[in-house]
Amino acid sequence: MIRIALAGQPNSGKSTVFNQVAGYRSITSNFPGKTVTYFISKVSIEGEVVEVVDLPGTYSLTSSDEAELEARNYILRGEADVIINVVDATVLSRSLEFTLQLMQLGKPIVICLNMMDEAEHKGLQIQVDKLSEKLGIPIIPTVASRGIGVSKVFSTALKVAKNPSVSKPVLPFFSSDVEEAISSIIEAMPEDFPQKFKDMKIDKRFLAIKLLEQDEFFWNKIRDNRDFIKRFKLIQSNIEADRGMPSDLVIASERHAISMAWFEETVTVVPAEIGLAHKMDDLLMHPYLGYLIAAGALYLFFKFVFTFGSALQEPLLTGFNRYIIEPSVAYLGKNTLTGKLVNGLLQGIAGGLTVNLPYVLPLLIGLAFLEDTGYLPRAAFMLDTFMHRMGLHGKAVFPMLLGYGCSVPAIMATRIMESKRDRAITSSLVLLIPCSGRTIVILGLVGYYMGMNAAFSIYLLDLLIIAIVGFIISHLKPEVTPGMILEIPELRWPVPKIMLLKIWLRLKEFLIVAWPLLIISSVILSLMDFYGFNDVFNSVMAPLTSVLLGLPISAGTPLILSILRKELALIMLSEALGTWNLSDVLTETQMFTFAVFTTFFIPCFTSMGMIVKELGWKTAVKSAFLTLIIAVILATLTRLLI
């Protein structure tokens, strides 16, 4: 089957192009052994079924981050027959630098010159045929958000895949001094060099350029050849001395110059009027007002999510209990195995439907709106300085605040951050934020029996711990991308169809990953209850619960099982202690200790599953371990000090 890969820079509309043809049928896939994901779909083009792969959007093809490395190696392994390069016409010169890098990979290319309407508004008149001739690549102008030109892009790609001679990229030369350096490097290269990259088809020129770019991936493979390295370093230091900049910047400047030349030869810039969008930006990113607007936007966003969520949660929960769970359990018998199993199953379904979904859905709508209008990067721009105190970037604000509702959508929301490090740190911190399930424990136990101030102090303690932990882990994990360098795309009205599709694709991930986990944990919970595992748990947990934390031995089961469903911890504690008036059996210290422990202790199974899915096992295990340690330390301190 013919395989077409989509490649392009972030914000080029690449996913829009992909979604226009693949739509809701696309599925997410991981690169082998990696957490970098891409979308894949089978699409029928002119009656022929082809596979379309949407590679991660990247600014360049260096190996400075995992997504770029995987996207590049995918192409280098020759897995695609043709590449569609989606180019944002409004930033043509910069986008062509990426095209130039793609051209070096030696695959036939079709350019999808997207956002032609906006480029026109900006006063850019692009001579498409002339540019196409210069590059030796077919170029199709499109407005992907409205579907204009998209089918022609794919039919052209199909034609090229069958007859690669239609797309013959004309690789331009660099300045003569750089070309000389490249030739000398090629001469110094041992014959077997390109063969070190077994499954990749690369030539010596490509390798020489990559080495000048100081590309880690290629560099690591040849570093044991001391003789070559010595000669390479000499050539490199010569060109660096001549140009007065590091060799990676020399190559970057060369690419920049070539793209600029292409741009200047094929584009006429006519003055454009300053649009509303530009004036809006002066306000949205105003040195002072920008902060107020960002705060207001955050407030509205969460108001929307929580209003929607709480309005639905209550009636759904009551309705589900009254009309479905109670009659079913009553019919099957409360203490029979079937009764327990069905109860667990239904509780799991109810949990997803009534506790998670009411928050996940408005969250996804709100996020898609903020993303598609372009406000999200603007908010990140403004809030950056605050999040920095914790070693994070501005975008982390959204997932962190969402964590107060439910960790699952909060972890999903970390996707707005590009770097995996930032996502991992933010996800770990999200787990420390009391979600609504844990809020039930804090308010129902400490708040109810000890007063609101005591409950509030747990929230304050929590904020303090998050700041400290954030500070520590962000310093332990040095930044890969050093600080915030963020493209701010143009403000635009979202296209409903594209937005809905985005929401659906993300919702689907919740439905097929998080919800089933919740149902499974719920069933396990019922089974354990039926078979009387409680005593086993209690004695296993005794060293922790009674010796270290000074809690009743029977608190062991609720604590362990709270991993499955946080919001049930309090109910289970009451059941385990055999009373609904907990002040009869627990001292205030014990209540406080229990609440602190539940707040920080390993987050629920569902959110762990979400982290595994999004960031891999290692991150999940590490963050679970982190929360466990924090919980034990804090709860022990609570016992000793309060």
Binding site: S60, S253, I488
Partner: protein, 75 residues
């Protein structure tokens, strides 16, 4: 002069980017390179980020990084 000390509304020529390869690579991806003209469009208060216009495209960079970019006035 450092970019972080530049004046809002003025155009500058980037002279040098200090800092390691990661900083350089990341900046050059968004077109922030020696020899390129940038306009400083805005500077968030409270030590916040800087908004640049790089060849018609808006790029936000935090102050720590703007400290590492040396610019000259360009007329």
């Amino acid at each position: 002069m450092r970019l972080s000390e530049a004046r809002i509304g003025s155009v500058y020529l980037i002279i040098e980017i200090k800092g390691d390869i990661k900083v350089r690579q990341h900046l050059s991806k968004l077109g922030v390179l020696p020899g390129v003209k940038v306009k400083l469009e805005n500077k968030a208060a409270l030590g916040g980020a800087l908004l640049l216009n790089v060849e018609g495209k808006k790029v936000g960079i935090e102050r720590r990084i703007a400290d590492k970019i040396l610019v000259g006035t360009h007329e």
